[in-house]
């Protein structure tokens, strides 16, 4: 039932144990004390729980632990620690209201920014992330400011 899974979290090797079907987010929040990743719908539809897997954005609420073995996981904690310019731009633009969706948006947007994508492509990709407060325009303005 329970298996031990090793992966790299924000550059450090970690091991967690749990059922293979347990979604990654529960390992992050429950075992690794990485509480920055937000649980939203639990079905991969809202994007609030977005993290990166080998540099690409994925939803962690429906990503089974077995699928991350040996791979690189990135979370908001690393983006904040690295002082990513998007974070300051978001604050400058007051690009959020309740902010519950924002962590997942930052994870998707920074992954795509770092991969050199432009703001228009990122806007399309962000359809995978829902924002209910209606801060989309401000978020896009912040992204456009830091996109090369």
């Amino acid at each position: 039932m329970t298996q031990m899974v090793g992966f790299t979290l924000n550059g450090a090797a970690v091991h967690v144990s749990g059922p293979p079907a347990m979604p990654l987010i529960h390992a992050l929040r429950g075992q690794l004390n990485h509480l920055g990743t937000r649980l939203g719908c639990g079905t991969g539809d809202c994007g609030a729980c977005t993290v990166t897997l080998d540099g690409l954005p994925v939803t962690s609420c429906n990503l089974p632990l077995s699928a991350v073995a040996g791979r690189q996981v990135g979370t908001i904690e690393a983006v904040l620690a690295a002082d990513h310019p998007l974070v300051a731009a978001l604050i400058r633009h007051q690009a959020g209201q309740c902010g519950y969706c924002l962590t997942g948006i930052v994870m998707r947007a920074t992954a795509l920014l770092d991969a050199g994508q432009d703001a228009a492509a990122i806007r399309e990709a962000l359809d995978a992330n829902l924002c209910r407060c209606g801060a989309h325009s401000r978020i896009m303005a912040a992204i456009a400011e830091v996109a090369t």
Partner: protein, 690 residues
């Protein structure tokens, strides 16, 4: 201006503000931060009046033991009432402090000023600070008897776009209630009974792991576990095996219920000669039930310490929640403390209060703190829903086209079933407990606030006005108060009526509205829209429309123009808006609220409907309930008309009605037919044109 109610109810300075020797100021507010920026605005107001840095202020919000019991954080009233009360209290605190300093310095208080908490005399440091005097000054004095708030020209912090004090923290760990961990805390998930009359006849064959247990109290069933995933996983297993006996969902579809039997009808307003005029023009608008759609599911933490219960909740009204919990749990209210902690945006009465009861029941059963979380599916299926409603309007016009008589028939369940403490507690779990309490029907506030009928009373000058509210006999869901309540539907209906009347009169949309307005501020937002050099193209499927309202006929003024392109669906490309909310504490925060309301309104108008088959709710996930996405959000162009000396009118809910109206009128412009049913999906467009 007259003092707002909160400062009358909590008249002492020290009920709002206390000073510490280290120079920090603690501001206690009953208002809560729902993401609307109220904490930043309140701190700006207090810092400005006190002449301290914003960083010197520590804000306590929504704490039943520490905050003034101001009531709910609703209705765009937080700065209008709560903020103005903080301003009066802070001005008084500054005056009392300066009086004390003047005594110590043997000078006149008028010679003293404050800079960052330091007392200056003729601009020079006196060595005295608020912190030093903190223990010497008695602030248990009536705020209204001391000091006066600054005039607008003297404000330095209020009126500026100070950055949100909490936004960065919201990005990281530990800010949301969802991240709160208490010693020995377990995690709980409710297995939601499928209906109000459901009886669990058996739990089925479930074996729980050692660090998990089932909580059962009557028909209230939950799994509590040391680990959050175990609680989730086991609650899903249990919900698959538990056998419920319940009657099938019966009764009409929520929209059909609006044209079915009426339980109650009342005339709320009736003046003038309703038969005046020579031409009659009617419109109707029906909106389906909507969900609040918080991105984070509702969460609460409960901890019993002997008989004392402490609950952390992202409730809009911790005071009513406290009384409601005490009533449902048959527990003395003095033994219950409710403390606000941040959740996801709620936009009104969602499940945030319900989950607080769930947490308290689970924590009581397992004898340890419990963090309870609803699941997204629960929010769709069992959370309160913004009710379906129909608004039918009839205008009678004189020979010149002027509106002489207006009648509104608003058919809707009441929009408020909020927990009301000594009234109806209305927490979903209460009806399932072994000592159950039935849910109440809720109510609508009287005009001028109104509920379903909010903004059904037109802001236009019309000699004869009649407003009738009717309540359908039966609706298969729990109605909620969501951002603007009935105003969204009523404003859209009224603005489509104005458009049709203007067309009949052969007048321009804006000129027709101005002809019916006598409030200069109302005229000014519309004129600003008129004078804005908005490029008007007329390509295939392009339409432009406008919408205007003064929210509740007493709060902010707002006029919008929308541009849509209609092909196989409706796309809103641009919204131009002008708003007047009186004084603005934080202009950028105000714009953010206005923009958010516009985006939400477009989403409601174009996409949203909680889908039912008959009385059975079929909506379980976001795939069933699309909302506006990044690629669909229009360009927003928004102007604020500022009045630093005018009263604060509030901003959070003013834009949904006018923005929705602008979009619907733009679709009318593109298609030549007035929409009568939301949402304006492809299916609805086909039906409209049929």
């Amino acid at each position: 201006m007259t003092a707002p109610q909160p400062i009358k109810d909590f008249p002492r300075v020290d009920q709002w503000l206390t000073f510490a020797p280290d120079g920090t100021v603690t501001l206690a507010s009953g208002r809560v931060e729902l993401g609307q920026g109220i904490s930043t605005a309140l701190i700006q107001i207090a810092a400005d009046e006190l002449d301290v840095a914003m960083t010197a202020i520590r804000l306590i919000q929504g704490h039943t033991a520490l905050s003034p019991a101001e009531g709910p954080t609703v209705g765009s009233l937080s700065v209008t009432l709560g903020g103005q009360s903080v301003r009066i209290a802070a001005a008084a605190a500054r005056a009392v402090m300066l009086d004390h300093a003047a005594g110590l310095l043997q000078t006149a208080a008028a010679d003293l000023t404050v800079r960052e908490g330091a007392i200056l005399k003729s601009g020079n440091d006196t060595g005295l600070t608020y912190g030093q005097m903190a223990s010497q000054v008695d602030l248990s004095v009536a705020a209204l008897d001391h000091g006066r708030p600054k005039v607008a020209a003297d404000r330095r912090i209020a009126g500026t776009s100070a950055p949100r004090v909490d936004l960065l923290a919201r990005l990281g760990p530990g800010h949301f209630l969802h991240d709160m961990v208490l010693d020995g805390m377990w995690h709980g998930r409710v297995v939601q009974p499928p209906s109000l009359d459901a009886m669990a006849t058996g739990l089925g064959d479930v074996t729980l792991p050692p660090d998990a247990q089932i909580v059962r109290d009557g028909q209230f069933i939950a799994v509590v576990a040391a680990d959050e995933y175990t609680a989730l996983d086991q609650s899903r297993r249990l919900s698959d095996t538990v056998r419920w006996q319940c009657s099938p969902a019966s009764g009409p579809h929520p929209v059909d219920a609006l044209s079915g039997p009426i339980a109650m009808s009342e005339t709320l307003y009736n003046t003038g000669d309703s038969t005046a005029g020579v031409t009659q023009i009617s419109v109707s608008l029906t909106k389906p039930p909507l969900t609040h759609g918080s991105i984070g599911p509702s969460c609460a933490v409960a901890c019993w310490n002997g008989d004392a219960l402490t609950v952390w909740a992202h409730s809009q009204n911790v005071f009513a929640l406290r009384a409601s919990l005490a009533r449902v749990l048959r527990h003395p209210v003095d033994w219950v403390t409710v403390i606000f902690a941040p959740g996801a945006g709620c936009y009104g009465h969602n499940s945030s209060d319900d989950v607080a009861l769930d947490a308290a029941v689970m924590a009581r059963a397992v004898g340890r703190p419990v963090r309870a979380l609803w699941q997204r599916q629960d929010e769709f299926l069992h959370g309160p829903l913004n009710p379906a409603m129909t608004t039918r309007l009839t205008a009678r016009l004189g020979p010149d086209g002027r509106m002489l008589a207006y009648r509104a028939d608003v058919i809707s369940p009441p929009h408020s079933t909020r927990p009301a403490g000594e009234g109806e507690p209305n927490l979903r779990g209460q009806q399932f407990l072994s000592d159950p309490m039935p849910m109440g029907p809720g109510n609508d506030a009287p005009q001028p606030q109104g509920g379903a009928d909010r903004n059904a009373l037109p802001g236009y000058v019309i000699p004869a006005v009649r407003v009738v509210r009717a309540r359908p006999a039966q609706v298969p869901y729990r109605p909620s108060a969501m951002r603007g309540l009935g105003a969204f539907t009523n404003v859209i209906a009224l603005e489509t009526l104005m458009e049709n009347c203007a067309a009949h009169a052969g007048m321009d949309s804006i000129a027709y509205r101005l002809w019916h307005l006598d409030d200069p501020r109302a005229c000014r937002v519309i004129e600003a829209l008129r004078d804005w050099p908005i490029p008007r193209d007329d390509g295939d499927g392009v339409g432009f429309g406008i919408g205007y309202a003064r929210y509740k006929n007493s709060a902010g003024y707002m006029a919008c123009m929308a541009r849509v392109v209609v092909d196989d669906a409706v796309r809103v490309t641009d919204v131009w808006s002008v708003a007047d909310v009186g004084e603005t504490i934080n202009p950028d925060g105000t714009l953010n609220q206005i923009e958010g309301g516009i985006v939400q309104a477009i989403s409601w108008a174009l996409k949203e409907e909680v889908r039912f088959s008959g009385a059975q709710n079929l909506t379980t996930g976001w795939a069933d309930y699309p909302i506006l996405q990044f690629s669909e959000v229009p360009h927003l162009h928004t102007q604020l008309i500022q009045h630093p000396d005018a009263p604060l009118l509030g901003a959070g809910e003013i834009s949904a009605g006018p923005a929705g109206a602008a979009v619907v009128n733009a679709v009318r412009d593109a298609l030549g037919v007035t929409p009568d049913r939301l949402p304006l999906t492809r299916h609805a467009l086909v039906a409209l044109l049929a």
